[in-house]
Each structure stands twice: as C-alpha cells, then as structure tokens.
C-alpha cells in the first residue's frame, strides 16, 4: 500500500467546513451468479461533499457502474457502509437520480417530454404545470426542443442519452449519478455537453458522482477524481482536478496530471504482464 500523499491547492478551512454528503466506507460489492461470486469492488472508500463533481475513473470492468448502482440503492454492499446525509442507503430513491450507461433507460411508451416529466410527477416532486415548465427548460438545455414530442425509438443513441440527462437534472436531486453519460457522443457534442454540464453546475451547484473511463474527461468534468484499479476495483488514489476545465487543456499541468493518472492505471498492467511472463517462464 502506498502512503496517502497530502495534496495542496485546497485551503484547509474549506474542507473542514462541511461534513460529507455521501460517505462510502470500505465497500465491497459482489455479484452472485449461479456458478460463482464475482467481486466487483473491494473495500472502496470515498467521501463526496456538497457541490463536488466527483469522478470515478478506472478501466472497463473495474466496478464503476457497480459502485454507482450501490449508491443508487440497487445493490447492497456485502461489506462496508454507504451513507447519504448520514442515513444508510437501503433502497433506490428519487433523491439520487441516475443516468444509466445503457440506451434503453428511457420509457419507450412515453415521448421525450413525458419521459422528462414522469419522475417529477410520480415522485410527487412538483405539480403537472411546474413539471412541464421544468421539463421544457431542461430539454432546451440539452438541445432537444425540436424532438420533445418524439418517441425514444425515433432518437439516436446520443439523443436518448441527452434526454436521460435532462430527465435526471430536472429532478434536481441531492446527488446526480451519471454513468458514462457522454460515452456515446461524438467529440464535438461531447465537448458541448461537458461545457453545458459545467455551466449548469456553475448555475445550480449540484453534487454529482460521475463515472468515466476517459482520463481527459475526468480531469475536465471532475473537481475530484477517484482512481480505481482494474477488476476488482480498489482505490488507487484520490486527486484534485477542480483547477482544470477545457480552457486549460493545452497547459503543461493538465498534461502532467493526465500522465500521472495514465501511469497509475498503466502501472498495474505492466506489473501484471511482467508477472504473467515470469509465470510463463517458470511454467
């Protein structure tokens, strides 16, 4: 285990001022299949504070989606605790809205507008009129006003994802859970959505837990990055990235952080390869 390195750039009083909104402690998540048990994450801990843009970063299959499902309340940890505002998470709830990685998360029997309004109405969060206004506002933010009466099967994958984002944001939840929401978008649209998301964050200062496997996206979108090891996911590091946005992308510090994370994720692979080579040589 490496010693925890102190990070500068954050004044002390800032960190002490809050208690964590979401606190994940030593969480191990497992899937039970018919034949065996798959450990998705192993003893992962992190704290998310109010207005954090907290990013879970790691290679494919390291358990990022599983962690998000845990926080959303779909999956109970076999070990450890997850608490939101001090209360243990035991079930899904609209105070943690999730944008899923999969494209079939919209309800196909509802139009775009109805899809965005649906959670606001069923959770009793607002009345029909207000829900409609809010839905229209967020549909406009993701640039889908023209398609508000279309059914999901008429939308492209990226458009569906944008509807899901609008749907989750319109709820203004305590914490927004986003599972690789921009992965399906082209570079230009992705960049626009990232900027839009950051702008929205500037406006409303919501808290989000954001999953990605793109180092660059993690640095741009995140204020703090949790780097996870390959499967089963364990915490490798927690880094600050609040000082970076699109504007800093050319800067050497940005490049340095990218490289640092890259090495972290990569080191494991090199080690593994060396080990397997050694194993093959012995065998």
């Amino acid at each position: 285990m490496t010693a925890i390195q102190p990070v500068d750039g954050l004044s002390k009083s800032d960190a002490v001022a809050h208690s964590p909104l979401l606190s994940v402690k030593d969480v191990t998540l497992q899937y039970k299949t018919r034949e065996h048990i798959v450990t998705a994450t192993y003893r992962v801990s992190f704290d998310v504070f109010q207005a954090d843009r907290f990013v879970l970063l790691g290679p494919s299959g390291c358990g990022k989606s599983s962690l998000l499902k845990g926080v959303a309340g779909f999956m109970a940890p076999v070990e450890g605790t997850m608490k939101l505002n001090g209360r243990t998470i035991d079930r899904p709830s609209p105070d943690r809205m999730m944008v899923f990685q999969e494209f079939d998360q919209l309800l196909p029997w509802k139009t775009v507008l109805q899809n965005v309004m649906f959670p606001m109405l069923t959770s009793g969060r607002c009345k029909r009129k207000e829900a409609r206004e809010r839905a229209l506002r967020f549909i406009d933010k993701v640039n889908l006003t023209k398609f508000r009466d279309a059914y999901p099967h008429m939308l492209s994958g990226g458009m569906k994802q944008r509807v899901a984002i609008a749907r989750a944001m319109a709820m203004e939840p305590d914490i927004l859970l986003m599972d690789e929401p921009f992965a399906a978008l082209d570079a230009l649209t992705r960049r626009k959505m990232q900027e839009e998301l950051l702008q929205l964050w500037e406006d409303t200062r919501f808290t989000m837990l954001f999953v990605t496997h793109s180092i660059e996206e993690a640095i741009i979108v995140g204020s703090r990055i949790l780097v996870l090891s390959p499967h089963p996911g364990r915490v490798k590091a927690e880094l600050n990235a609040h000082q970076f946005s699109h504007a800093e992308q050319g800067r050497p510090e940005f490049g340095a952080l990218t490289q640092r994370i890259h090495n972290m994720l990569f080191a494991e692979r090199i080690e593994e390869e060396a080990l397997s080579k050694a194993g093959a040589a012995h065998g």
Partner: protein, 293 residues
C-alpha cells in the same frame, strides 16, 4: 490470384468534396406514386385476395352444381342476409358473444391474479409455470364433459371451458413479458421511487405490453374456437343457443347454405376482432412506441 499474404492496400488519391445543399438533392423527400401508395394499403391488398378467393368459390360451386353439399357464394350470402334479418342468426351471435365476453373477462381476471402472485413470490412463479406446463397443452374442449358433469348443461359449463382456454395463454404470455423487461428499465422505474402496485402498473405492464397483447390475442382466438366447438356439441337449449348451435341445427335440417352462412359469421367476427379491435390497440400502443414493427 494475388498472393494474399503480401497484399497491401492500394494507395489512391485523396479528395475532398464540398457537400451540396440538401435542398438541391431533389429527392430527399418525394411523394410516392399512386400505385406505390395503393399497394402500401394493407386492407386493399387483402381485399384483392378475398375477391379472388370468392370468385374461385363461386366458380367451383357452379361447376359442382350441388346445393346440398356446396352452395355457391351468392346463395351463402343470401342465406346470411336472410338469417340475419329475418332469422335467428343475430340473436344467436349475440348469445355467443355474451358468453364469450363473460368467459374472456373472467379468464383475464384470473390470469391477472396468477401473474401477480407469480411476479411477487418464487413459489408463485413455480406454481404458474407448472400449471401452465400442465394445462396449456390440454385443449379446453376436452374439459367439456367434466364441465357438464360439474355445472350441468348450460352457460356455466361454457364459461368454464372458455376461462380454461384463455387463462393459461394470457398468464404465460404476461409472465414471460414481465420477465423480459430490461434490467435498466426496472432500475429506472425504481429510481423514481415507484414500488409495489404502482411499479407494476406504471413500469412493468407498459414495458411488457407487446407480450401481454400477444397473450390477449391468442387467448381471444382460443376462446372463440372453444366456444363454437362447445356449442356444436350441445346447444344449451335450442331457444337460447349460440352460433355453434345455429350451425349444428341447420346441418340437421340439411340447410347447407345456412351452415355456410353460420361459418361465415364465425369467420367475420373473428376477423373483425383480429383486424379491427386488436389492430387498433396495436397501432396506438406498441407500434407507436416502436416496441413492435
């Protein structure tokens, strides 16, 4: 042939196009020709087939020239008209439909109860799958003698066999549909705080609607067939008999045109329900939602 192992991609010159304005492409959107539009109308194509079949019938019947075994289309239509306007056909049909709807509704209700139990408990799932495996292959009409023994000669017996024919098909399809609802949609629904009955009504049922509808259709077809068959076997009582009884009665009196008229009525009702009632439901639900082509 070229030696594949040494094949290299052919280097071709590069080019860049200035994309033309979409407005200049002309055929981005174009109305279809009259013929294309006509041949796209479902019912029109089917009507043509019907007319051809009708002509073949008429031709054969005239050629055979035996009214007792094979009346012509014209005679059948005349008989159908007569029996509907002056005869008992309409009344018989209504009797049949009334029994059918009773049985169908009851069957749906029981199927709903069964699937609710099946989705909420594991023992319920096992119960449903065992029962459907046992009773689905059993033709409902085979239960008629038993029904007569239990409920006597009358409507309850008919309702019993209809319920049996509807129940398993609908329950099986609905349950399969529930199981096939994607994990993401389930999670999305739960994420909104939906639970219990609200979750079933607002997420599971619409998401499983294609298979539920398929179940309803199969159930309807089974019920209709079973009813006509059951009525053929016994007529409840000759005054309040249904369509099947009408057919049976006329066969006994060697009114073959009427038999054909009765059969035509059976077909027409089946067709109307299939292609009007269920199709309308389909158009406004699963097709509109893109859940079914």
């Amino acid at each position: 042939m070229a030696n594949l192992s040494s094949a290299t991609p052919l280097v071709r010159p590069e080019f860049e196009h200035i994309t033309v304005e979409a407005g200049q492409i002309g055929e981005v959107e174009r109305p279809l020709s009259l013929w294309e539009r006509l041949s796209n109308i479902d019912w029109l194509r089917k009507a043509v087939i019907l007319i051809v079949l009708g002509a073949a019938w008429e031709a054969y019947a005239r050629y055979a020239g035996n009214e007792l075994t094979f009346p012509t289309l014209v005679q059948t239509m005349q008989a159908l008209w007569e029996a509907t306007v002056h005869g008992p056909l309409l009344e018989r049909t209504l009797t049949s439909l009334r029994v059918l709807l009773t049985g169908y509704a009851l069957g749906l209700f029981i199927a709903g109860v069964f699937t609710t139990i099946a989705v909420s408990t594991r023992i319920g799932t096992d119960l449903l799958s065992t029962l459907t495996a046992m009773f689905n292959p059993l033709p409902a009409i085979a239960l008629l003698p038993l029904a007569l023994l239990w409920f006597g000669l009358g409507i309850p017996s008919l309702v019993f066999v209809i319920v049996h024919s509807v129940l398993w098909a609908v329950a099986l399809n609905t349950h399969t549909g529930f199981l096939a609802v994607s994990e993401t949609q389930r999670m999305a629904g739960m994420n909104y705080g939906l639970r219990g009955v609200r979750y079933v009504l607002k997420i599971l049922i619409p998401a499983a609607f294609p298979s539920i509808l398929a179940g309803l259709k199969i159930g309807w077809a089974f019920a209709w067939r079973t009813l006509i068959a059951a009525e053929l076997v016994f007529g409840v009582s000759s005054r309040s008999g249904g369509l099947g009884w009408f057919i049976f009665e006329n066969r006994n009196q060697l009114e073959t045109a009427n038999v054909f008229a009765g059969l035509t009525a059976v077909i027409i009702i089946g067709l109307v329900v299939e292609s009007v009632v269920f199709r309308t439901i389909e158009m406004h639900t699963v097709r509109k939602w893109g859940m079914q082509r």
